[in-house]
Symmetry: C2
Subunit: 491 residues, 2 copies
């Protein structure tokens, strides 16, 4: 079968776009910057949602739903927040269309102008904290641990499917606490939840750390992040958790009677991951044949393809295939038996490779005679002949191995593409020739950070939590530094 994808080596960006399209994950819509998430892509999102939602609930959170619209005036209440988001908002100004008096379609009814414009939420801190004001009187009302699954809109000028789209789907947690310590503990807990999800389910190793002041969320005192390395050597910020201090409580006047009976402002966190994670999943693992999906997030973990020459053979194979399907399902393994006669086995093999199904089973008349079955792994593309008996156990074990192997491969890649640098010249050189994560000393100033960004486009991805304290000198200014930080080019 002809290659359907541009190769990664040839054009990484085109490879990504081809893959998103050919694997039926998503496509551009009629609305600039907005994508249609197709059923196969959405099925991955549903798997992600289900697992994340469980992890949120296991850590005591509940879901709720807040309005899509935010009154314009709310944006003025938190100074940093308005600067961070006001430039990229969809604004609703009218609430009615009417027939064009000239008879050409419909036009906006000028009489239906809103008194105050409504902003489509780019994030919900403002509308949620205006609501929390009514929910919180005393420390007995705290903590509030709400999450919301929702769509948000940020008017991006340059968009790429999943990575940066005008509308995207996400979850946003918004919590309210008695003390700074509690809010910080929540902020930390949630970045740990995201890291576990990325590593254990997406099979992507991530570095946890704090953002530099310059890269923080608009309105946050601290932003924690998980940073993943893509196969082209660029970083992808995959999830963030913010310690908001009392900023939003002050902006919306949310005070509570504390245990001493005194009024105090409430402490806040917020945290989110989005459909961007699907972009991370694609870019971390996939190859020139298509998607490589970790078994824990694959819509189908196993596909069975019958190899037959006539209806009689197909009937015999189907009896055995149905048995295998039943056994796999009993183990909680999702499986598809593709007995369509409109396509040949070779076409199906390529199709499921493209779609990243972790395990492919092929079974023909000779296999029935021999009690055997062909097993192909998507991650290594290895094939082997296995015994039909206990194939369910074999597949269950293999799925675990694939999950582990995909993670290890990504981990190995990151290790090989993480470089300690001590000179700015070396950094500039390797950033272009090698890429990846760079561990370097930085003097802690915004000036130096911006200078590096301007000269190289690289940004500080994070100040890693588990980076060893190490005295050193900033690679640019030579001023003292107590810890290496991570630089990279980023999506």
């Amino acid at each position: 079968m002809a290659k359907v994808l541009t190769s990664k080596a040839e054009n990484y960006s085109q490879w990504y776009n081809d893959l998103v399209s050919k694997a039926d994950l998503a496509e551009n819509s009629a609305v600039r910057g907005c994508m249609v998430i197709k059923p196969y892509g959405y099925a991955i999102w549903e798997k992600m949602q289900a697992q994340l939602d469980k992890m949120f609930k296991d850590t005591g959170h509940v879901n709720a739903y807040f309005p899509l619209f935010i009154p314009k005036s709310f944006f003025s209440k938190e100074a940093a927040h308005v600067d961070g988001f006001a430039k990229e908002c969809a604004v609703v100004t009218h609430y009615r269309l009417m027939n064009d008096p000239d008879g050409k379609g419909v036009v906006v009814d000028p009489d239906a102008k809103l008194e105050e414009e409504l902003i489509i939420r780019p994030t919900s801190e403002t509308i949620i904290w205006s609501t929390y004001k009514n929910w919180i009187q005393s420390y007995r009302d705290l903590p509030i641990l709400c999450n919301q699954w929702a769509n948000v809109v940020r008017w991006e000028m340059r968009t790429r499917m999943f990575l940066r789209t005008t509308e995207f789907l996400w979850q946003e947690g918004h919590t309210a606490h008695e003390t700074a310590e509690e809010a910080l503990a929540e902020t930390t807990q949630m970045i740990n939840v995201y890291a576990s999800f990325a590593e254990d389910f997406m099979a992507i190793p991530v570095i946890k750390g704090a953002k530099s002041a310059n890269e923080r969320f608009a309105g946050a005192l601290e932003t924690y992040t998980i940073e993943a390395l893509m196969q082209d050597g660029k970083a992808l910020q995959s999830g963030t958790s913010h310690f908001l201090g009392q900023n939003f409580a002050k902006a919306f006047d949310v005070q509570f009677a504390n245990r001493d009976g005194k009024l105090d402002y409430v402490w806040a966190s917020s945290w989110g991951v989005s459909t961007r994670l699907i972009g991370a999943l694609i870019m971390a693992h996939s190859d020139d044949n298509g998607l490589v999906l970790p078994p824990k997030l694959a819509p189908y973990q196993v596909v069975i393809v019958p190899i037959y020459k006539n209806d009689e053979q197909l009937a015999e194979i189907s009896v055995k295939a149905d048995e295998i399907v039943a056994k796999l399902k009993a183990r909680g393994i999702s499986v598809k038996y593709d007995n369509r006669d409109s396509q040949r086995p070779g076409w199906k093999f390529a199709e499921y490779e493209l779609k990243g199904v972790p395990v492919r089973l092929a079974i023909g008349p000779r296999d029935l005679e021999n009690g055997s079955i062909e097993v192909a792994r998507r991650d290594t593309l290895e094939k082997s002949i296995e015994q039909l008996e206990n194939i369910d156990q074999f597949v269950a074990d293999l799925l675990d191995k694939i999950q582990e192997n995909i993670y290890n491969k990504a981990f190995q890649f990151r290790e090989e593409n993480t470089t300690k640098v001590d000179s700015y010249d070396q950094f500039k050189d390797l950033l272009v020739t090698k890429g990846g994560f760079f561990l370097a000393h930085w003097d802690g100033t915004v000036e130096t950070e911006l200078k590096i960004k301007e000269e190289t486009k690289a940004t500080i991805r994070c100040i890693p939590f588990d980076g060893a304290k190490e005295e050193g000198k900033c690679m640019v200014t030579g001023k003292p530094s107590s810890q290496r930080v991570i630089f990279a080019l980023a999506y």
Copy 2:
């Protein structure tokens, strides 16, 4: 404890609002007509979603996601559709805010005006059929069976929480078929799915039928509906499924090569239910003490309240309570052990009555001695003392009984409030004095339908599918009719 709700008899509408608010289901937001769905209300929606999603997938559907925004011009493409929806749309005209030059907050940036305005989806037929055009070339691409869980916006002038809000959450199925027969079969299948969900899970009996031409969805050839009767004698349309013919395929030029190799327009259905169902759930079952939730949709099915005088007693009770919790959870029953010492048992009893928890267990020191436990049913408010041994089996059986009883009660109510009428005077009289569903003959014309609506505010809820064919005369005009239809005042 003082009554927290206005009684139904006193003021049904106020009772409803009180209940939504006091049971922590939802509240009005800072944005006109938009509600905040609070965690307890959202938990009910999550239960509904999970079950409906399973039913959709069991009938072969997949989920996808389409843009929130619809280009204004799309609305002009289907003539009936634009008339039905254009009057109630939120319109995005700009994509940026800027600091007010006068220094007062933020204003819309006049330079950031969109060339073509974007409409927030009131329903997604247009954007979806513009997408399907790319997905469909041949009959081999059919059927397409997509569903979307999403928020939609209809600019309602008079809103009520859950029943009619500017923004609401829903699912919308959009299917594409080779033939009219297939699309009609899908339309029928989905109204049956909705009816099963309403009856088996919501414990609400519904009448399935077709809408009169005048009440059809804008752009549909047939609209099927499930109609439920609320306790105030008004009908609530609870779900609809539309046969769209080839209208949207023609509007968006979606043709396919059929089995004869000829080009034909694709046939369509669409179907949806929304957070309005929560309004139905509240109004169908609840009483002056609060919510009455069917066990299958209750966020907690069981609550356990300890009755104790000191910490030692609480510790002993908690050992037993933990055992019960474990046993109930093993049976898949959701249970909350409320051992908070900040509230008294009486307060907790009232709280869980208000919130409609189906079964309340209370356990004190004497129960421990006697091996007994107090069981209270929310639906009948009956209490009994049961043996602690095998209490999990008892509760499991009781939950089934409650589910059945709630349904039977609602069914009985509907039976008692469904009246056959043959004279218009009698109809007008009983509509006011009794309410409920009225089975009456109608001559099938829009004129008569509108006359009745104008004079009485009653509408034809549906032409029931299983209404016996019966010759008769229209109650208004005396013209011939072949079947009674259902009239009612409606939400």
